[in-house]
């Protein structure tokens, strides 16, 4: 594929179909995982707070666990498809790399002074690159730490990698917090720039 055709296809479609399908499946799965995860957290809180029942899924621990271990299949299978295609098609490399610290600083400043341009949705600014790469990484960490909590005997080498069972619970929690933090910014920005929401639905 020549540079020209890449530019042309990028002009026509901002997000290819596989990105949009994976995005919305992931959106549903991650919301179920977070909501049920909060209910599971409430059964044995790591910190001096619990999540309100009004935002926790599953009604009680057993219900939440059923949701969590059902949605995990959707999250993981969809995540594997997404990351594999992201790497194989070169989309991750094209869209997310390189991330230069100087550009991140400049773009954060621009964003905070409302000067960050969003004219070309097919091109990610440095802050977007950092956030999207970061949330993909958080996704990998949350799945691996989750596996190490779920199967600390069968996958004990993985659990050990996270510093043991108890520490893996904290890692899992902070990965959730990072993803929720991302979601708040992500959804807020999508609402501020509705064209970006449309692009993730129709592709353009």
């Amino acid at each position: 594929m020549t540079a020209e055709t890449i530019t042309l296809s990028a002009d026509a479609t901002i997000h290819p179909r596989w990105v949009r399908v994976c995005h919305w499946i992931n959106a549903l799965a991650i919301l179920v995982m977070i909501g049920s995860g909060w209910q599971i957290y409430n059964a044995s809180p790591l910190f001096d707070f619990t999540f309100s029942e009004s935002i926790a899924l599953g009604r009680w621990l057993a219900g939440a666990l059923l949701w969590h271990f059902a949605a995990m299949w959707v999250l993981v299978i969809n995540g594997i498809v997404y990351v594999t295609l992201g790497i194989l098609t070169g989309r991750f490399r094209r869209k997310l790399l390189p991330i230069r610290p100087s550009e991140v600083v400049a773009d954060v400043k621009a964003a905070l002074t409302f000067k960050l341009a969003h004219d070309d949705l097919s091109h990610y600014n440095a802050v977007q690159k950092l956030l999207y790469s970061g949330v993909i990484l958080a996704g990998v960490v949350i799945v691996l730490s989750g596996l190490s909590i779920w199967k600390p005997v069968q996958f004990q080498e993985l659990t050990a990698l996270f510093g043991g069972y108890d520490t893996a619970r904290y890692v899992h929690f902070f990965a959730m917090a990072a993803i929720v933090g991302f979601l708040i910014v992500h959804v807020a920005l999508a609402l501020i720039v509705p064209r970006s929401l449309r692009a993730m639905v129709t592709g353009r």
Binding site: L31, G35, A43, S44, A56, L57, G58, K151, P152
Partner: protein, 257 residues
Amino acid sequence: MRQRRIIPGVDPKLLIKDAARLMPDASRRGFLRGAASLGALTFLTGCDIIDGDTAEGVLRKVSEFNDGAQAAIFSRTKLAPTYPESAITRPFPFNGFYDEDDAPEVNGETYKLEVAGLVDNKKPWTLKELYALPEVSQITRHICVEGWSAIGSWQGTPLSEFLRRVGADTRAKYVWFKCAEGYTNTIDMPTALHPQTQMTFKFANQVLPRSYGFPMKIRIPTKLGFKNPKYVVAMEVTNTDKGGYWEDKGYNWFSGL
């Protein structure tokens, strides 16, 4: 007198409230519902297939699928990590669906373990006979379905050794346990035969105290805590899944670690 000093990071009040909180209502039906959850899911899917009964049915199917997935990744030879004595959690937490004061008091003098089902010898076992079985020891991590964990020290005889002695048909699918207070539990045969699955008579080299399941607990470090029955008075080798106290209320059946 009740002691409620529990492990760091665990709110003692939560453990006390176990029974009340874990069981939202007397009837099991509809436990997955709840206005908020239902609303959220209806919002997310834009349709009402997520009504309580349908969702519950689908989730139970997935949970059964997860039983199979866990059985497939369960290794008969992989051992749960063991720890030094210094790592033992003291005091080791009491846990149950009732308060510690209400834990069963089993009379060791008259106690007899009933053995039933697909075994050659159904003779009941006195405590004295059980204590005479070969003893092994393990210091392993007890992991509760709620998420907290604690390291304990357990001594007893491998369940596989006992099953061999009573002439159990180890091609059977399950071993079912009944406890003094009515608690029940079914485990899969591969787990029953795992080298660390133990008929436990001692905690930290002392006769199992009442709070930890006197006179006998089944210690299974490859399963969540609620699959480790205490106050066991009967066991049955069977091809019928007879369920269990928490499993019947919605916890995953296999609950492997």
